[in-house]
Structure formats: structure tokens, C-alpha cells
Assembly symmetry: C2
Homo-oligomer: 244 residues x 2
């Protein structure tokens, strides 16, 4: 339940667009009208509209107005820009998701592991190897590393449930942001064995480094996705002085 006003306005407008209350490919009411209708300030409305633009619901044009460009059939299942655990995204998409721990261990970062993960060599880590199933099909294989000094007390039993619930609920860690990189890699024998790849020999790999409120990267996770079920969506905006 969002409590910020601009988030409420975002959802109000998003629902009106999705329900067809605003005609497709037509202009929405002007800012002035919406401000009067929604009883808010211009800045607050504009913040909600900015989120609609980012999400690909409307496009704005100076001097003309804002246009509804929502396409019902093609909206996202995965979204960029937000952090979700597997359990959370499964729930959001009304999927039946289960997970299985294949390995849990304490390890020390050697040079090659340090280079891959971004942790300093010698860092003490928990290693969690998980397989995520959607409707009984193995879809994602995760190799996760957590700093022992941040995620201390993590056990295999906790990992069977929800690691994030433990980190946030028990240890009161504030998860702030996560840098992610999407690549395509050759499948390893492990991938082929566990992910029912058919005759594909590559998969989508999402590598993420997650930071807590103290600015320390405490988690590195490599998610190896079955190619048939990997889909990321993005809405790009053309600007003159492009922010790069």
C-alpha cells in the first residue's frame, strides 16, 4: 500500500489507462485538468506522470499534451528498476514458485572468485546454490555469495525459507540498491543438467551486486535463466542532451 501521494496518483492514472477509461492513442486531460480533478499540486502530478512515462504508459510532448500509449497485450512480466526476490515476483505474477537448496557452504574469496564477484580477496562469505521452479519447471539457477559479517547467522534452514526476509526482518539490514548486468553465456554442464535446456547451449545471466545502507556490497548473485522464460522490458526516452 503506497502512502506517498504521488504513488497514489500514479496508480489512479495507471488503472484508468489500463481499464480503457482514457481512449488508446489519444491525449489525456491536460495537467491543469488533472490537477483540479485529483486535487494535488503541479509538481506532485508531474512526478506521478514521470513514473508513467518511465513505465511506458504515456508519452509527453511539450506544447501538445500527454498521450496514452498503453498496449494491453505487451506489458511486462519482469520489470527493470526494482528489486524483487524470486518469491515476490512469483507472487506478483500469480505463479506457483518453489525453490530448492542444492548447496550451502562457508567459503573464502580467492582471487578468481574476488574478480568475478567484486568482493576483496580473503572476504569470508556464505555460498548458497539454489534452484527456482515455476509450476514444477526448473527455470533459474542462482549462485549467491553473502558477506558473513553482514548476513551473519545465515543457515541452510533460513535459506530454505526466504533469505531476504531474514536479512530485512531479523537482521534489520536495509537493502538499498542493486547493480545488475544482463549477459548471454554458454551453458555449463551444470546448467544443462539442472535446467532442462533442450538443445539450447546458452542462457541469460543476470549478475547483481547488492548494497546495504552502510554502502557495503554484501551480496553477489549470478542468476542463470532458462532462455525460454527470460524476458526483460524497458522503456527508453529520446532526449536531446541525452543523460549518459
Amino acid at each position: 500500500m503506497p502512502k506517498a501521494k504521488y504513488e497514489q496518483l500514479y496508480h489512479i492514472l495507471k488503472n484508468k489507462i489500463e481499464s480503457g477509461e482514457y481512449p488508446p492513442h489519444e491525449l489525456l486531460p491536460s495537467e491543469h485538468m488533472l490537477i483540479a480533478e485529483l486535487n494535488c499540486s503541479r509538481n506532485t502530478l508531474r512526478r506521478a506522470v514521470a513514473e508513467l512515462v518511465r513505465a511506458g504508459y504515456v508519452q509527453t510532448m511539450q506544447g501538445k499534451g500527454m498521450r496514452n500509449i498503453f498496449e494491453p497485450a505487451r506489458q511486462a512480466t519482469f520489470t527493470l528498476g526494482t528489486i524483487e526476490s524470486f518469491a515476490e515476483s512469483a507472487a506478483r505474477n500469480h505463479w506457483h514458485g518453489t525453490s530448492k537448496i542444492l548447496d550451502f557452504a562457508k567459503v573464502t574469496a580467492d582471487d578468481t572468485l574476488a574478480h568475478m564477484t567484486g568482493f576483496a580477496p580473503g572476504t569470508l562469505l556464505y555460498y548458497v546454490w539454489r534452484l527456482h521452479y515455476l509450476n514444477e519447471h526448473p527455470l533459474i539457477m542462482n549462485h549467491s555469495y553473502f558477506r558473513q559479517d553482514v548476513a551473519h547467522g545465515l543457515t541452510r534452514e533460513i535459506a530454505e525459507e526466504s533469505i531476504y526476509r531474514y536479512l530485512e526482518g531479523e537482521l534489520h539490514i536495509h537493502i538499498i540498491n542493486s547493480k545488475r548486468v544482463v549477459t548471454v553465456e554458454k551453458a555449463t554442464p551444470l546448467d544443462l543438467q539442472y535446467l532442462a535446456m533442450g538443445d539450447c547451449n546458452c542462457l541469460a545471466v543476470v549478475s547483481s551486486q547488492t548494497y546495504n545502507g552502510d554502502g557495503v556490497m554484501f551480496e553477489y548473485t549470478q542468476s542463470r535463466h532458462h532462455p525460454d522464460y527470460f524476458r526483460f522490458q524497458d522503456n527508453a526516452v529520446r532526449r536531446s542532451g541525452s543523460i549518459v
Copy 2:
């Protein structure tokens, strides 16, 4: 050359972070200090900071401050959220990019093409089949479709140069936004023939639908990327009432 003040502030701060003027993993000066130093209003500074957060340069924490989380070695080559032509991104990364037209034709959307692209069946289209090279290596194969009534007058000769320069410079089309989806697909015989795939049989596919200022989708492009050179970066932010 960005002219908006918040864009200038964004680049000033970004440069200070990249050059190490702000110590890594430490807090930046508070908003109050930066406002005095940069001689701007609070809203304008916050807008610049919001872009830094999106780009993964800083994380903000209510009551604490904003922390520098820039990692020199791991910054993006490709970025999400902005529209760039191949020529533009090659120039930005100081690459030597060339392109070759493999086919140029006028086609009419049948049912299967309409379903794939999102155009209505019967729409008159230009079809452009291009291969993009980076330092003489074939990296991206593009299948593009443009509405004839929007991109009218497009020729093979123009496509040899730059399609976007023609659309924006000659036809004065305003390119507003582009919805993109990233998936992984099995390589076709065409992919294997032209992209020097080695023993990989999958590739990264970016499908994009681009809209002009009249709200009409005038372009559908499917970019098929050599897996070794595909890399997309994203920075996700954890929120309580996550905007979905």
C-alpha cells in the same frame, strides 16, 4: 551539450565522482552544502541526484546522506533508458562501427508479421535488413520495419547512411520513446551464417517498438546480438511500496 541546469549539475557531480574527488564508499556533502556550492535550488539538485541514483553512482538514505557507490571497472557500456542509434553508441564508446545493408524492400504486413511487430495487418512497410560491424566483427543483425506513410521516401541509399538522421533531420519526425524487450532466442541459420557465432546456438534479441510525436508506432526493430558482445546494465532500487 545539455542546457538544462539539472543536467549540468548531474554532469558536474558525475565527473567529481568518477575523478575520485569524492572518496569512494563515503558520504557526499549534504544537499544543503551542495546547494550552496552549486548555487541552485533544492528541487534542481534533487533532480540531478535522482539521475545519479538511476545511473548507479550514488545511493541516498533518509536521515543519513548520500553515498558514493561508483565502481570504476564495472560501469556500463550499454545503458538502458535512452534511445541511441548504432552510430551514436559506437561514437560514444569510441568504437569503429560500420554497417551493411543486406536487403531493402517494400512489404505489406500479413498476419504473422503483424503479430510479431504490432503493426495492423495490411500496413505498408519498408523492410531494412542490416548488419552492424564493430572493428570489422559482425555483432548485430537488425530486421527493421518502418511505416511507409511516416518514413516516406526512405531508400536503400539513405539507409546506407543513417536512417535516424533522415527521419529527424529531413522528415522532422519527433522520436519520443521506444518500448524494448530483451529475450534469448535460438539462432537461425541466417544468424549462424552472418554473425560468426562459433558454437553458440542462441543469441540476445532486443525487440523495440518506437513511437513518434503523433503517438503512432512507426518502427519495429528486432536486434539480434552476438552473445559475446551483448551487455545491458541496470541499477535497481529497493522501495517499500514498490512502483509496479
